[in-house]
Amino acid sequence: MIPSGFDYVAPTSLDDAVAALADAGEDAKVIAGGQSLMPVLRLRLNSPSTLVDLGRIAELRGVREDGEAIVVGAMTTHHDVIADQLVGRHAALLTDATQTVADPQIRHRGTFGGSLAHADPAGDLGAVAVALNATLTVVGPNGRRDIGAEDFFTDFFTTALEPDEILASVRIPKHTGWAAHYEKFHRVAQSWSMVAVAATVDVDDSGVIREAAVGLTNMSAVPVRARAVEQALVGQSADLEVIRAAAEHAAEGADPMTDPNADAEYRTHLAKVLTRRAVVAAAGV
């Protein structure tokens, strides 16, 4: 289908973008890589008055080191995230999960920030953001504010972003040396995650799990942490029985939905199996 008519602006700085968004009023939308928004527009599920395109703002792209964290520009494409050395070294979970996003064409257009701001519960990167304790920096007419990943996602396709705010970057505390695995379950290669588990662990030389972080995709309206699993892992040796027992806690506190592919019971079961597999793969057991 053909989208409804809209005005289009493509500013070249973040300040200009914020101003353009404010000017355009509350029916305006921000477009990043367009991989989710364009289908929405074409299906006429949304008819914004203006699109503010962030594609020409250089300062929103790329990854930099900042003390104990790395900062990923919101407009960094999935492809660039996967290829980035800093991400690979300090946030291996993000690299691993991003590799499972869609297909190469989409990974060349779609962006990390766009995916988070879209807040599809089946999107793969929200679980990574919550697992890695990321902080999202948003900019609006009243300046900058930082939002913790778990506070950023508020409901299905809904975030703490105000209509006049733009997600600028994502700050991820360094998880240097943490092993990671993103275990994704979907029916065909091109389809969304029915359930997926983002797991990353810091295992010491004696094989004891020092720290663990587990995020769940599509187990609630928003990405959630599987804290009970993490608690059951920390301080234990990374062996199969420990992981198996810990994974049984995977769905605690989650609120999975039912759709034709999976009902809540099946999702709950999948979360446990996939959590076990994700941690096993991450810990190299």
Binding site: M1, S4, G5, R187, A189, Q190, S191, Y266, L270
Partner: protein
């Protein structure tokens, strides 16, 4: 000696793996798709579709839409009620079949979500789209009929209250009545084993790559329609008959068409509406559907409930089969909706020779998109049912599924064989195909691995599935179609034109939409006339160039269309022979024709067919009374169907923890008779397998309880891609068809027909020991996992773990 390596005419084209000559333009897009067409003054049509599955239209307010920018006209069903007529159904399967009125634009009632209720004609497609959204329709809810079994029962709410029932027709075949076999009830009564199963054929969406698209130009003396259709000839005839336009005032062109799978074997409401609008406004009108419209409103496929009762002896010999079908028509009867289950009726006996067969099909209306032809059309349903229940019999008797089949199949020395369903299978060799497939598959090795995995309680279980299928291709002997009350014949037409320079134009009535006709037909003609492959041009898809034809479906193009070409080419040679004799001052009887040369037997004297063509063009030196023309036409009506067969073996791994099914190995040995182009065959088989596997594991058109299609985009309707499919091991045996001079059988649907039961059989084979008796298609992870859970709880035996 041979000084240069010329492309020797003696080297046969037929059998060569020619790269398809149409691919460079199809793949690069430097070609004519309907949506690429731009005509002067062309307007665009947009359709407003009903979101309701069943409702009365209490009012439509088009005022706002009419005033929108660029809008030229807005029409509702009431505006067109008189002139739109009823969309045609060409297959009255019984004398008392109930066929409802099927308006292109709903007049007072909508009957499925997607039914068109209003159309906007505007200067641009975007303006047309905008204006449809400004139309306000007042719907009054009517009861929605969705469940097939409920719809067929007494007291159900009605899709068409004026018909007084949801049952369109009941069609039966009985071997005792037809004199083709014994009485099935007797066989069931006397059977040592009776296996009863009910299978569900889910609803599928054809999902062709190019959406449906139409352009109608009403200017000039004829109305010209370009349409992304499989059936330009049938479309032209049906438009004439439906709309009362004199047939000679219509021209239909199917330019390059990007796939159909039966989904474009249709006279579409959108085609009728574009024509009516163009005629009213006197300007060209274009319509191209969106993907969501295509999934919602273009016809769907399958959707049957199949109840089977199989009678057998303890030694595995099958003695009878009773089939009771419920077939979902959807809301209306489209072109051949009513006949699709009937096309399967002759195939439920498969490759087997049991003596008794009874088939009853009840065609039922529901408030869903109409169903109609989809790749295989009737035969996949039948093949699935028989191949699934043969496995169930094997389980019941604790026999190897291949052993049960071998016990019942027609032995190669028994051909030609008259089947219990009343067909005559001309040829086949099921033993040879099966032996080859078993070897390629490493059947015994995989059985060993399966046993080991079971033994150690592996969470990943291996399953092996068999499908030894046959199908009927080459639609169709016209007399047979007549006996089944189909509205047309099954012949095909061709003409061959020798141009003065020796080049050849071949016109076929079998219009391609991705099959590779241009290449395959060129190969046939190159051999027949002894001209280079490159010198043949195949023309099709325009009723002006190709005035006679019955188009492309039912794997008919080669075995029927190809034979028409052979006949026409032979007539060219017959016409050239006396002229060649004259040119060489020889007697006709002394000439032999091979590799494009007429040679006087026992001499060096010869003349090429191209030289004859030039001489004919000049016409300076022809025999007295000879007509200066080598062009020939031929129409071929087959005496019988052709019957490809094959053995497909599938190995799947089932992750019993999640229910996820991975196809690990797939081997198929097909016997499609003589092969014209192995590369095209390979492509057809691969695509067919993908589509059949998709039915087994992935695809499912799902409506919610209000009749809204939940799988209205590719995000929900899961079409597999290359990463989801295994490497296919394909091979062939070659038992030529005896019914046609080419020895060909057809391969367009074989992969789809054969593969679905092979995959589902393998899924069950993997988890049957866990207490699973059946998994409905598609065998989604959740379904498989739940079946395992249920099986484990219900079975008293210890679980595998």
């Amino acid at each position: 000696m041979t000084a240069t390596v010329e492309p020797s005419a003696a080297e046969h084209e037929v059998g060569k793996a020619r790269i398809r000559k149409e691919d460079d333009h199809l793949i690069t897009g430097r070609t004519k798709w309907t949506d690429n067409l731009v005509l002067p003054g062309m307007l665009h049509m947009g359709l407003l579709r009903s979101p309701m599955a069943h409702a009365r239209i209490a009012g439509i307010d088009v005022e706002t839409a009419q005033a929108m920018p660029g809008v030229v006209a807005v029409y509702t069903g009431a505006d067109l009620a008189e002139e739109q007529g009823s969309l045609p159904n060409a297959w009255q399967i019984t004398e008392d079949m109930k066929a409802p009125q099927a308006p292109s634009l709903a007049v007072d009632t909508v009957r499925f979500a997607g039914d068109a209720v209003a159309m906007v004609i505007a200067r641009t497609a975007a303006e047309a789209q905008d204006a449809t959204e400004a139309i306000d329709v007042d719907y009054e809810d009517l009861p929605v009929v969705l469940d097939l079994a409920d719809a067929a029962s007494d007291g159900s709410d009605l899709v068409h209250p004026d018909l007084g029932t949801n049952v369109s027709a009941v069609w039966t075949f009985d071997s005792a009545e037809a004199g083709t076999g014994t009485d099935v009830e007797d066989e069931i009564r006397n059977a040592e084993v009776v296996v009863e199963r009910t299978f569900r054929q889910q609803r599928l969406i054809p999902a062709f790559m190019e959406p449906r698209s139409v352009v109608v130009d009403p200017t000039g003396t004829q109305i010209t329609m370009w349409s992304a259709t499989q059936v330009p000839h049938i479309l032209k005839l049906m438009l004439a008959m439906t709309l009362g336009i004199p047939e000679h005032k219509l021209r239909v062109i199917a330019p390059d068409v990007g796939g159909g799978f039966g989904g474009k074997l249709q006279v579409c409401p959108e085609e009728v509406l574009a024509l009516l609008a163009a005629r009213r406004l006197g300007k060209p009108v274009k319509y191209t559907e969106s993907r969501s419209e295509s999934m919602q409103a273009a016809h769907h496929g399958r959707d049957q409930i199949q109840k089977l009762t199989l009678a057998a002896r303890r030694d595995g010999t099958v003695t009878g089969l009773k089939v009771e079908l419920l077939a979902d028509m959807g809301a209306y009867l489209r072109l051949v909706t009513s006949g699709i289950p009937i096309l399967g009726a002759f195939m439920f006996n498969g490759i087997y020779k049991f003596p008794a067969y009874h088939f009853t099909c009840t065609n039922v209306f529901t408030n869903k998109a109409p169903t109609d032809a989809y790749r295989g059309a009737g035969r996949p349903e039948a093949t699935f049912a028989i191949e699934r229940i043969m496995d169930e019999l094997a389980t019941e008797l604790d026999m190897d599924p291949l052993e049960v089949r071998a016990k019942n199949w027609i032995a190669h020395e028994e051909f030609p064989f008259d089947t219990v369903a009343g067909l005559t299978y001309d040829s086949g060799n099921y033993e040879a195909a099966t032996a080859k497939a078993k070897e390629l598959f490493d059947y015994d090795g995989l059985r060993r691995e399966q046993a080991e995995r079971r033994e150690r309680g592996d969470t990943v279980q291996l399953g092996i599935g068999v499908s030894t299928f046959t199908e009927m291709c080459g639609l169709a002997p016209s007399r047979v179609l007549g006996s089944l009350s189909y509205g047309a014949g099954g012949w095909e037409h061709a003409s061959v034109r020798m141009l003065p320079t020796g080049k050849v134009e071949v016109v076929t009535g079998s219009s391609a939409h991705g099959q590779g006709h241009e290449t395959a037909f060129s190969q046939i003609v190159a051999d027949r006339l002894g001209v280079p492959f490159e010198d043949v041009e195949v023309l099709h898809g325009d009723t002006q160039t190709s005035p006679r034809g019955l188009d492309t479906y039912g794997s008919r193009s080669l075995s029927v269309g190809g034979m028409a070409i052979v006949k026409a080419a032979d007539r060219v040679i017959d016409k050239a022979r006396p002229l060649a004799a004259h040119l060489m001052e020889a007697s006709e009887d002394d000439l032999e024709f091979s590799d494009g040369q007429f040679t006087v037997k026992g001499t060096e004297a010869s003349v090429g067919i191209a030289d004859v063509a030039l001489a004919v063009f000049a016409a300076h030196n022809l025999p007295d009374g000879a007509e200066p023309n080598l062009d020939s036409e031929a129409t071929y009506d087959p005496d019988n169907f052709s019957f490809p067969h094959g053995t497909h073996l599938c190995a799947v791994e089932v992750d019993t923890e999640t229910g996820f099914v991975t196809v690990r190995k797939y081997v198929c040995v097909d016997d499609i008779g003589t092969v014209v182009n192995p590369l095209i065959v390979e492509g057809q088989v691969h695509g067919g397998l993908a589509q059949g596997i998709a039915q087994a594991l992935y695809e499912d058109a799902i409506y919610d309880e209000s009749g809204t299609l939940l799988t209205g985009s590719f995000a929900e309707y899961l079409v597999p891609g290359a990463p989801d499919l295994p490497h296919f091991t394909t091979d062939r045996t070659e038992t030529p068809a005896t019914g046609n001079a080419l020895g060909v059988k057809g391969v367009g649907e074989a992969g789809t027909i054969a593969s679905t039961p092979a995959v589902v059989n393998s899924v069950l084979d993997a988890v049957r020991h866990m207490g699973v008796r059946d998994v409905e298609m598609p065998c989604s992870p959740m379904r498989v996992w739940k079946a395992i859970q249920a099986g484990q709880t219900s079975s008293t035996q210890e679980g595998v773990r």
